[in-house]
Symmetry: C2
Subunit: 124 residues, 2 copies
């Protein structure tokens, strides 16, 4: 059960089209997750209603991993995204893979400002 | 985008049947989430393969919320669960609802030991 939980809150995202395009966002998240050596076992995405005509709403999405999960929430009206990458280290230490994936996701959005945090999860 | 992210890592869970019963677990998580005043917009659950005959594997599940997400991972062989409740406070402060929900989820599993943490998420 012990593991590493990384979060990143992004602002000033230059790849603004990704914040509302669920198909492209899901595909690229899967690609980055698999490239980091983590295994997707399920996913679910939700698009929020348009804020106004021509002003698309944000997305919420989650990838369930064999190693735990990835979660994303987008706020296109703020050019903002929040990211979670959580890996348990049951069987092997997946911390390096989690860091590689988070770096790739942050870069994908072209964020100008990033607030990153990390939690150690553990069996109490 | 600013919000509250609560985590809890549980051990010694007495409600051991919940750790492998996806239908009951999903139903009860939805009920607790809605009772806390949060809104489910999607969910996805995955059951891992049996560890051995008669020894069921764990579950991973996520509820997508209008306010962000809930995530659960169960380890029946360790009587352990990890929980995440993340609410953004866009429009209103949902922090109290998140705390109510986390308290209810921890109680539901009858955990004997709990390691709780909290992160403030924010626009950078």
């Amino acid at each position: 059960m012990q593991g590493l939980h990384l979060t990143a809150d992004l602002a000033g995202c230059r790849a603004i089209e990704l914040l509302t395009d669920s198909l492209a966002l899901a595909r690229r998240c899967r690609e980055h997750t698999e490239a980091a050596g983590l295994r997707v076992v399920g996913e679910h995405w939700h698009r929020f209603p348009d804020l106004a005509p021509g002003q698309p709403g944000g997305m919420t999405g989650m990838l369930l991993l064999a190693e735990s999960h990835v979660a994303l929430h987008t706020w296109p009206e703020l050019a903002g995204v929040t990211l979670d990458v959580y890996v348990c280290n049951y069987g092997e230490d997946n911390s390096a893979k989690a860091r590689v994936l988070m770096t790739a996701l942050v870069a994908m959005f072209g964020a100008q400002r990033v607030h990153e945090q990390a939690l150690q999860r553990r069996r109490p």
